[in-house]
């Protein structure tokens, strides 16, 4: 498929453009956003829970800080961790799935037993348990933690894909040419799994955002910086925001940020699916 | 004894819509089924024979559509104009169907007995009231042990057994006509022989009219009284089995015969048909067989051939019928 074809497909449905634009907006906020604001946002005891205005487009929080600024600054914190977690999830899932499916036999059995165990143990309680034992101050550590409960499904899916590819002709051909396992895995099978991997990466980002924000909301992670989960936590627990209609924007803003990001990812996912799956293009 | 028609099809056309393209899967079909006969309907896959079979029960579903023609059933009248209630009675009480894929034609989650019960319940005006008794009787007729099969789920039966259950279910309400859609195709040779034996037996006992859809000429030769040859949505030749097999007039039929190994095993003479059937989305003007036909002349690319009588009850649709047959085949 040429770039022109891709572009034609892209502009055919407005939702593709909307989704990609929204996602780009979030990425822009994450990259550039924090530098637009001072490192420590000014507080103002006289400007608590202000309604939206030109100065504060989304109003202010319990300390008089600008809510929009909090959202923008939080974007980086959220996306950093979530995308790291998604990459770890996908790498671990794909590597284990490939290994297991390709080697088969005892290795496969042991790996799948372990995978099943991770799939069975309820994810959220496990995250909470670990987070309460290990102090989660480092974003990378949080990302690793989030991926612990997420890779199992992908590993199983990749494995079953590999099992079906294994018997196909071109893999047989590669084998009869005595090309090594590594060649077969990475030159012959992995390219065919690419669509799968890309879509799972996007899904893993969504999953990681939910889990991350949720755990910050629950107060399981100690927080150093502001992010959407921390905002929710403070809104729920502090300053009586949850009991006042004045604080509506403060409370709803992080939720809207999450939901719009989710919407953007769903739309982009549909586009990616359309690119990879020609059958969907007909209708 | 003169044949009495039980089912008459006139100028039937079925289209298939995908996106912007329209495919005419069945085109201008005229065909009559006579009471008590076995008619073989043969042709390559994709020629429209299954669609025609479905149309007889008015089982044409989106994206297929009947766009013209008539189907007239003895005593019941015009099938295409039946209301919902009479259509429900027409189906299975008067005409039943034995499906191509024995594997999936039965509901995997119901036992044979449960499926038989649902059939009887759906036809309160039918002849039989006791599904168990009727099914037991029919299972015996198709050489199955009712004690074992009645309470079995489909997956517990072999392919051949499932196909026989399919035949028994089709006979449930003692229909006048049964359409059999490649009932032997997915089976091993022994099961095929068993099914053919059973069908012959059923036909002798009940005198049920049968339309036998297949691509297997040998099966037709063994079972059918008459044979209709379909090509690219049309019937190109129709006649008694003897007439069509020994004095085939349409070049396609002749080619089809040459592609079948002769029964007495004489070597040589086995030829495949060159080329592919035409793309139904973009049919050329004139004859549909022109690109593969050794006899094609300029006129074949312009004029559509219509069926003309070439013998007693034998007709063929070809412009070059005056030509001597290509080669004596299977003689």
């Amino acid at each position: 498929m040429t770039f022109a074809d891709l572009w034609k497909l892209f502009v055919r449905h407005p939702q593709n453009v909307i989704g990609v634009t929204m996602l780009a907006g979030y990425l822009f906020m994450a990259v550039v956003g924090p530098s637009l604001y001072p490192a420590i946002l000014p507080t103002n005891a006289n400007a608590i829970y202000l309604p939206p205005s030109w100065v504060h487009p989304l109003g202010t929080d319990y300390a008089g800080r600008d809510v929009l600024a909090l959202i923008v600054i939080g974007t980086r914190a959220v996306l950093e961790v979530a995308s790291t977690a998604a990459v770890i999830t996908v790498v671990v899932g794909v590597v284990i799935g490939l290994w297991s499916g390709f080697l088969g036999g005892r290795v496969d059995m042991i790996l799948m037993r372990i995978t099943d165990m991770f799939l069975t143990v309820p994810g959220l309680p496990l995250l909470i348990l670990i987070a309460s034992i290990v102090s989660m101050t480092n974003p990378l550590l949080i990302a690793v933690l989030l991926s612990i409960t997420a890779w199992g499904g992908l590993a199983r899916a990749v494995r079953s894909q590999v099992l079906s590819y294994r018997e196909r002709e071109y893999v047989e051909a590669a084998r009869s040419l005595r090309l090594g396992t590594r060649h077969i895995l990475f030159q012959e099978i992995t390219p065919n799994l690419m669509p799968y991997i890309v879509m799972h990466l996007l899904l893993a980002v969504t999953g990681a955002i939910y889990a991350e924000v949720g755990l910050f909301y629950l107060g399981v992670f100690p927080y150093k910086s502001n992010n959407w989960g921390v905002m929710l936590n403070l809104a729920y627990n502090q300053g009586g925001a949850i009991y006042s209609s004045q604080s509506m924007f403060y409370l709803i803003a992080p939720m809207a940020a999450i939901l719009l990001l989710q919407l953007a990812i769903v739309l982009v996912l549909r586009f990616v699916e359309e690119v990879f799956n020609p059958r969907l293009r007909v209708s | 004894m003169d044949p009495t028609p039980i089912l008459q099809i006139e100028r039937l056309a079925v289209e298939y819509h995908t996106g912007r393209t329209v495919v005419r899967a069945v085109d201008q079909i005229d065909l009559t089924l006579n009471r008590g006969e076995i008619l073989g309907l043969v042709g390559e896959s994709g020629c429209g024979k299954t669609t025609l079979g479905h149309a007889l029960l008015r089982m044409i579903e989106k994206p297929h559509r009947i766009v013209g023609g008539r189907i007239w059933f003895d005593n019941l009248g015009e099938v295409l104009e039946m209301n919902k209630a009479s259509l429900s009675r027409y189906r299975w009480e008067h005409i039943a169907y034995v499906f191509q894929s024995a594997q999936n034609a039965l509901n995997p989650l119901l036992t044979v007995r449960q499926q038989a019960r649902l059939v009887i319940q759906a036809h309160p005006g039918g002849k039989y009231r006791d599904p168990d008794q009727r099914m037991t009787e029919l299972l015996r007729m198709v050489n199955l042990d009712p004690r074992r099969v009645l309470t079995a789920y489909p997956h517990e039966l072999s392919g051949g057994m499932k196909q026989r259950v399919g035949v028994a279910l089709a006979l449930m309400l003692d229909p006048e006509v049964i359409v059999l859609d490649e009932p032997t195709t997915a089976l091993d040779v022994v099961s095929q022989a068993t099914i053919l034996e059973i069908l012959r037996d059923v036909h002798q006992r009940l005198n049920t009219t049968m339309m036998f859809i297949t691509h297997d000429m040998a099966v037709v030769a063994e079972l059918a009284d008459r044979v209709a040859v379909m090509y690219a949505g049309r019937i190109v030749e129709l006649g008694s089995v003897d007439a069509v097999f020994y004095t085939a007039r349409h070049p396609y039929t002749q080619a089809l015969m040459a592609a079948v190994p002769s029964l007495d095993g004489r070597p040589g003479g086995l030829r495949a048909i060159q080329g592919h059937p035409p793309d139904l989305r973009q049919l050329p003007p004139g004859c549909r067989f022109q690109d593969r036909c050794p006899l094609a002349v300029e006129a074949c690319r312009v004029r559509e051939p219509l069926p003309v009588p070439v013998g007693d009850g034998h007709e063929a649709a070809c412009l070059r019928l005056d030509e001597p047959p290509l080669k004596e085949v299977n003689q």
């Binding site: 939901l259 989710q262 | 189906r91 119901l110």
Partner: protein, 326 residues
């Protein structure tokens, strides 16, 4: 025979998780046992006293070789001894869990049934009307709603209907004004309090079922045996029930129990938001107060519930599908 084998592997799983939890909690840096021991000593207990205290708290000996501690711990489990809570002094972990579990079971099971019913209904309709506007709305709406985190729907419902709207209580499982027991006031109060938690689960849960049911029904509708049923003129009602739904719902039953386990985990969010005294909240509170015996007990129970659900799903599936049943 298969059931015995599956039960065996479920037991192995429970055992493995128990063991993993034990060593995880025991070996992590800043081990809670060591912390507790240290804290007690700081409070002026002697080493022996502190050890005794910790033994009571955790339900097994803390000192001695690790394998011995582990055996003590397992021995305690077998006798139903999960230790004593730290934040609720004098209360056994088992007793606390026993009080919390019914509430979680109530909201999780009721919501799951509602989700399932709505999802199956919408999914079936969308499948029958596929391509039409109803299908479009259900499919697009469901893919947007599907996977919206429970805490978001919970907070929104809590904020608008409970704290701002004053339509629902802001916490608890029943009103202090009613007497627990089988009387109308109590049952009514229980349902009144459970309403919003259940709604939160339903909002974030039904869409997944609708999508699942739709795709399952669409694939069943394309099966040959549906065509056969129509050719047999089987009554519409029988086709829908015995042919379509029966086949389409079969794969959903497994997911039903699997998601029961998943929802048990998700109860942490919902119960936290609504201050609902179930297992999820107990677990969360225990982690916040670093009440490790209680935390370990809750986690074990949550995990066992999920593993049991998996096991029951397996068994049920082989019962329901004659193709697997032997």
């Amino acid at each position: 025979m298969k059931i015995v084998k599956r039960a065996g592997s479920a037991l192995v799983m429970v055992f493995a998780v128990t063991t993993a939890t034990f060593f995880l909690v025991r070996l992590m840096p800043g081990s809670p046992y060591a912390t507790e021991l240290y804290q007690l000593q700081q409070q002026g207990y002697s080493v022996v006293q502190a050890e005794n205290q910790v033994r009571v708290l955790f339900g097994f000996a803390v000192q001695g070789p690790l394998w011995l501690q582990y055996l003590h711990y397992l021995g305690g489990l077998v006798h139903g001894n999960l230790g004593t809570s730290i934040m609720y002094p004098g209360e056994s972990v088992l007793g606390l869990i026993g009080k919390a579990v019914p509430w979680t079971v109530l909201i999780v099971c009721v919501s799951l049934l509602i989700c399932f019913a709505i999802g199956v209904g919408l999914g079936t309709l969308a499948a029958y009307l596929r391509g039409g506007w109803f299908d479009q709305i259900v499919t697009i709406g469901s893919s947007l709603l599907n996977g919206i985190p429970q805490y978001l729907t919970a907070i929104l419902l809590f904020y608008f209907l409970a704290t701002l709207g004053h339509l629902f209580p802001i916490g608890g499982a029943y009103s202090p004004a009613v007497h627990p027991g089988f009387n109308l006031g109590f049952v009514g109060s229980v349902f009144y309090h459970a309403m919003l938690p259940i709604l939160s689960f339903v909002f974030s849960g039904f869409a997944g079922w609708a999508l699942l049911m739709k795709s399952s029904t669409v694939s069943v509708l394309g099966e040959d045996f549906i065509f056969t049923a129509k050719a047999m003129a089987i009554r519409e009602r029988d086709v829908v029930i015995s042919y379509v739904s029966k086949n389409a719902m079969l794969p959903l039953f497994t997911s039903l129990l699997l998601s029961l386990g998943f929802m048990f985990g998700g109860s942490v969010y919902v119960e936290q938001v609504f201050n609902y005294p179930g297992l999820g909240q107990l677990f969360l509170n225990s982690t916040n107060s670093r009440d490790f015996p209680l935390m370990q007990g809750c986690f074990l129970l949550l995990t066992t519930a999920v593993i049991t659900a998996n096991f029951v799903a397996d068994v049920l599936y082989t019962r329901l599908d004659p193709r697997i049943r032997q």
